[in-house]
Each structure stands twice: as C-alpha cells, then as structure tokens.
C-alpha cells in the first residue's frame, strides 16, 4: 500500500497511543503504582542539615547496609578564608555516630549529606557489560544483584563515589532511593527520620509536588553539573567549594 500524507497523519496519533501503552509497562509492583507516572529525585537543604547522622543509621537499618559501607553519608566541610578552593572534608564512619567536637574554626563549616544522585544519564549504567544496572522507568538507578558479576566497572564510573561492592553478596550495591518504600507510597527511610526536614523525596512528574515551586524560587544546584549526568539530587544553599 502506498502511504499518502493523509494516511500518515491519521496513523501518527494511533502510533503515539500505542507507544505510550508500551512505555507504561505491565508488571504490578504495588497496586496503583505505575512506573510511567513518576520520576524520582531528592531535595537536600544544606542550610537545615545538623549532621546528626539519623539518615545514615536509618539507611543502614532499612537496607541492611554492612558496617563500614554507606549508601548515604554525611561530609563535614571546613572552608578556611585562605584556601577557599581547597576545603577540608571529613566523614568519620560516614557521620553515622555524629561528628566529634572540634576547636572553633575561623572559616565556614557545614554538613553535606550525600547519596546516589539517580542520574537520568548515569555513567554507571552505561559501563555495565551485562545489563545488571539500569535506570528504571521511574528514574531510579537500581542494581540487579542476581545478574551482577561484581566486575566493579560501575564503582569506578560513578563520579560521586556512591557505589561499593557488598562484601556479603560480592555484587555492586548502592542507594535504591528506598525503592521498596516509594513504590508503596512511603517516603525514603532517610527522609522519614530527618529531624529538620533537610531531606525531601521529590517526584518530578507529579505536578502537585512542592519540588516544582521550590526549584523555581530557590537557587538550587546539583553536584558536578559539568559532567552532564542529569543528577536528580538537588542541593539548596550549597557552598561553591562542595565537590
């Protein structure tokens, strides 16, 4: 059959509907949860973080993270007046036990909580030779631990240092943005226990999510924007020295 312009124009909307159907997916993760309706990210307000380590402890308990490994951790930055470009950064036991008292510094001190940035164009998923790590249809970077070889390519590729090899399973491990919680309508464990609300789960596809208003009215940054990873962990009030 020959395709006339009229026929093509009639076919295009039908094809669009069919494509939308394909993208919506079939498996039922939880009732009423559709992967195509969400695009997850996180908002971190550095001006609110008190470095209590609640998020690190909650993450370890929620996800069985082995001692000495971290899916999320807190860094304490100390920026002196004479070396603004070279801040001193420390994270004793990931900030799990809080931060030890220190002498009063002259410069600027603050806490920076870190976790997987759940990049839309993530370098870690691109290097996996077997397809064991991927960006889910709702924007969460996950690891298929039954398929992972433990080759460590992704651990090297992550520019944020968010991955590790789990010593129990010998496979790559990382923050799942509490995928088992957010698919059931709960927030992440770290956001649940953050006493000051410095961490907020954000659904970028939900037009009613307060994240949209927040991104419009605050000068929010992401980590390493020059790497074009499409990071979805947004930081408010971040000092320029944070890497």
């Amino acid at each position: 059959m020959d395709i006339t312009r009229r026929r093509l124009l009639l076919l295009l909307p039908a094809a669009a509907v069919a494509w939308e159907f394909v993208r919506a997916g079939t498996p039922e993760i939880a009732p009423n949860y559709k992967t195509s309706e969400h695009w997850w990210g996180m908002l971190i307000d550095i001006t609110e973080c008190i470095g209590c380590g609640s998020c690190v402890r909650a993450c370890a308990q929620e996800n069985d993270v082995p001692e000495g490994y971290f899916r999320t951790w807190i860094e304490r930055y100390h920026v002196t007046d004479y070396a603004i470009e070279r801040p001193q950064v420390e994270s004793p036991n990931g900030g799990k036990d809080g931060f030890p008292l220190d002498q009063e510094f002259s410069g600027k001190n603050f806490f920076v909580p870190k976790l997987c940035n759940h990049c839309a164009d993530s370098p870690c998923t691109q290097v996996c030779p077997v397809g064991a790590t991927f960006v889910s249809p709702d924007g969460v970077v996950l690891v298929d631990k039954n398929y992972c070889l433990g080759c460590r390519y992704c651990v090297q590729a992550c520019p944020y240092g968010c991955r590790f090899i789990n010593p129990k399973t010998n496979t790559a491990d990382k923050c799942t943005l509490c995928y088992h919680r957010i698919t059931k309508g709960l927030t992440t464990a770290c956001a649940e226990v953050c006493p000051t609300g410095a961490r907020q789960l954000a659904d970028l596809k939900n037009p009613k999510d307060p994240i949209h208003e927040y991104l419009r009215t605050h000068s929010v940054q992401i980590l390493k924007p020059h790497m074009a990873t499409g990071a979805k962990v947004f930081y408010n009030g971040m000092d320029g020295s944070v890497r």
Partner: protein, 161 residues
C-alpha cells in the same frame, strides 16, 4: 549452471545448524524479561521493590499513638517523625502486642542533634551537654515530646507556643 554446489550446500547447512543452536541457546540462557524496558532484566524492578520495609512511617505511628501526637504538636518537636528517636518500628507496627520497642536513652539521642558543633546552623538550638546538664539525663528536666520547659507547665490543650 549450479553444477558443483554440493560443498556450498554443506556449508549452508553448517551455518543453519549453528544459527539454530545459537537461537535455542540464547532463548534458554537469557531471562524472559530481559529487554522488557531496556537492556536489563525487567523482573529486577519488582525484585528490588519486594524488600520488606523497616521504618513504618509516621502515618502508621499516629494511627494508634494519638496522645503523643497531641502533645507533640504543641511543642518544638512537632515536625519530628516518631522513628527519628525511636528507630525503625515496622515490626512493632505489624505486631504491637509482642514486639515492644525499647525506650531510647535520652543522653545519647538528644546529644546527637543538640550537642554544640560549629558546623550546625546557627539558629539550631545547641548546648555543650557537659556544661548544660553536668551529666544528668536530658529527660530529668525536658520532656522529649514537648521539650521546652515553659511548654510543659501549660495545659496540653493550650495554643501553640
């Protein structure tokens, strides 16, 4: 025209057998859901999501402990969820009768947030606990659900601070 093609047919046969063997082997080895959404196993998403939860979430806590919620919303700790201090309680929420959560130690819990540190935001209430209490447990004076001492004198039905 094709007089001596037997050797070519034999070669073609080998190629066809190899192709069939490859297709069969691939079907046997590659998981069914591989490529469902992309270059990965589609079932992995549901597997990650199937993990049991450890933190019940404040909505579940507030379903039963309404007395604490009423007290808490009058004080400075109104915005804090229960599991910040009490730890993960999904097991307690599933079976409140037999799983009893331990009482948190205020000397440890309070200091995690309120011990003075130059990196904390200036507006956040901080104390050097050694000077502030001299080793006394925090809940000797402060009631953790409603920590400000003046607050506790007022009746629980009073207006917000």
């Amino acid at each position: 025209m094709f007089k001596d093609i037997e050797h070519l047919l034999r070669l073609a046969g080998v190629i066809v057998i190899a192709l069939v063997a490859f297709v069969l082997l691939r079907a046997a080895v590659v998981p069914k859901s591989f490529g469902q959404y992309g270059h990965y196993r589609g079932d992995a998403i549901a597997e990650v999501a199937a993990r049991p939860i450890a933190h019940a979430g404040h909505a579940v806590c507030e379903g039963c402990h309404t007395d604490v919620v009423d007290q808490k919303k009058l004080g400075r700790h109104a915005g804090l969820h229960c599991e910040v201090c009490h730890g993960p309680q999904a097991r307690h929420a599933d079976d409140p009768a037999s799983v009893k959560p331990p009482l948190p130690d205020t000397a440890v819990i309070c200091a995690r947030c309120h011990e003075a540190n130059s990196a904390k935001p200036r507006s956040f209430p901080q104390v050097a606990s050694a000077d502030h209490s001299g080793g006394l447990a925090c809940n000797t004076c402060h009631q953790p659900h409603r920590p400000k001492i003046e607050d506790q004198a007022k009746p629980a039905t009073g207006a917000k601070r």
